[in-house]
């Protein structure tokens, strides 16, 4: 092994020393101990790598990202395919009992409200974490311009072509394995986040045709729907700016 080959291998040696016992590095490390030039190069390379690692570790994640992830996790239902609970007679019997109770109460179960609130929680969590977006294609620009127009009152049908916006590169977020569009817009210096879900993707969602205002997680939001879409507009600046645009 010449020095160039040793350098090539030592490029994969982590500066924290975790690779000390890896046999791949043994010969190259031995050579670096015996060859002064290689040894000097290796010491410099390790110090350089350690400095870069320290800088990379100093890059802070955005504020609110952790909370947004945790909120998303709480709203996410695990897949049921992983466990074979039905192999247990006891659990099967218990499940049968629960099924009977569910069957009796299903008529009263507020499915639509739960789905609506889950989407609203998700929208607020995302809006609190994410920055502002835009400039992703002509369709998105047109919708953003319309939403930003101070003459336009929101809370009714919006000219949304979901497929075209998605194709144009409009930001999407994933909620319950379905894509939801998000467009940011600004009115009078206040940023709003508009989330657009397709009714076809969320059969359980029911929405009022008129906007319903609420407070959630420290943000204000307005939600309404039309024949094809469900809209949630989130404001981090309080209720008053939101009321102003409706």
């Amino acid at each position: 092994m010449n020095n160039e080959e040793a350098k090539f291998i030592l490029h994969g040696y982590r500066p924290n020393g975790r690779d000390t016992t890896d046999a791949t590095f043994c010969a190259a490390l031995d050579q670096a101990r015996l060859d002064a030039d290689l040894g000097q190069w290796f010491a410099g390379a390790r110090a350089f790598d350690a400095a870069i690692s320290a800088k990379l570790s100093a890059a802070p994640p955005p504020a609110g990202l952790r909370e947004a992830i945790l909120a998303g996790g709480r709203l996410t239902e695990p897949s049921s395919t992983a466990s074979s609970w039905w192999h247990s007679r006891g659990l099967l019997a218990a499940a049968a009992g629960v099924a009977v109770l569910l069957a009796l109460s299903v008529g009263f179960w507020p499915k639509t409200a739960a789905a609506r609130e889950a989407l609203q929680d998700f929208a607020v969590a995302d809006a609190k974490h994410s920055g502002t977006h835009g400039g992703e294609g002509a369709d998105t620009d047109a919708l953003q311009a319309m939403l930003s127009n101070p003459q336009v009152r929101l809370g009714r049908d919006l000219p949304v072509n979901f497929a075209a916006l998605r194709k144009a590169g409009c930001r999407t977020v994933t909620f319950r394995e379905r894509e939801v569009l998000e467009v940011c817009f600004n009115r009078d210096g206040v940023w709003f986040h508009c989330y657009i879900a397709q009714r076809a993707d969320f059969a359980a969602l029911a929405a009022s045709a008129a906007p319903v205002l609420s407070e959630r997680g420290g943000a204000s939001l307005a939600a309404w729907g039309d024949a094809a879409h469900y809209f949630v507009v989130v404001s981090k600046a309080g209720r008053a700016p939101l009321e102003k645009i409706l």
Binding site: A51, I69, P78, H133
Partner: protein, 183 residues
């Protein structure tokens, strides 16, 4: 309990995952989305992972696959043959100079490294994975990882040297919104 495990998992891995995502997407908001999306997939499927010790690898692999999936959708693919040759061991700023540099400047230099090298390089500098694990994660041979680390470091040194001399080339701000967002 499941919620507690999920919280522990997030606390242990969300920061390095975000940094890896940032190096891939070059955009803070895309990186945040990608990190969230990865944990979303975990919440849906991750509990089926029998060996909890493999959670870290699973998360990083999933994040990388999600990035590739989104990029394929966006039609952005870097061809290997497009890559220019790199000087073998270009001069770099002295270590104490690098240590004194602002972290954001060092990250900018890292983001200027070609993507094909940047992914293994970032994983290497996060120090969470060995070169073997990086090869498995990126689904490339071990020799390829070594080669990309070598070339990536050369590009990073050159980029840092440019920044040290004040010649900021193609600086990419962290809050830049990419042409297409990730889901």
């Amino acid at each position: 309990m499941a919620s507690e495990i999920f919280s522990q998992l997030v606390d242990a891995h969300y920061a390095p995952l975000y940094r890896f995502a940032l190096s891939l997407t070059k955009s803070a908001s895309d990186a945040g989305d990608l990190t969230q999306q990865t944990f979303f997939i975990w919440a849906k499927q991750g509990h089926s992972l029998r060996d909890a010790g493999k959670a870290k690898s699973w998360l990083f692999t999933t994040l990388y696959r999600e990035f590739l999936r989104a990029r394929r959708r966006a039609g952005r693919v870097t061809a290997l043959e497009d890559l220019s040759p790199v000087e073998a061991d270009p001069p770099a700023p002295a270590v104490d100079v690098v240590a004194g540099m602002d972290a954001s400047l060092v990250l900018e230099a890292l983001l200027e490294v070609d993507e094909i090298y940047r992914a293994p390089l970032t994983l290497f500098y996060l120090q969470e994975f060995s070169y073997r694990e990086i090869a498995e994660l990126l689904e490339v041979p071990i020799g390829t990882v070594m080669s990309r680390l070598s070339r990536g470091k050369a590009q990073l040194r050159a980029s840092l040297a440019r920044k040290e001399t004040g010649g900021r080339g193609k600086v990419v701000p962290f809050n830049q919104t990419s042409a297409r967002k990730l889901s």
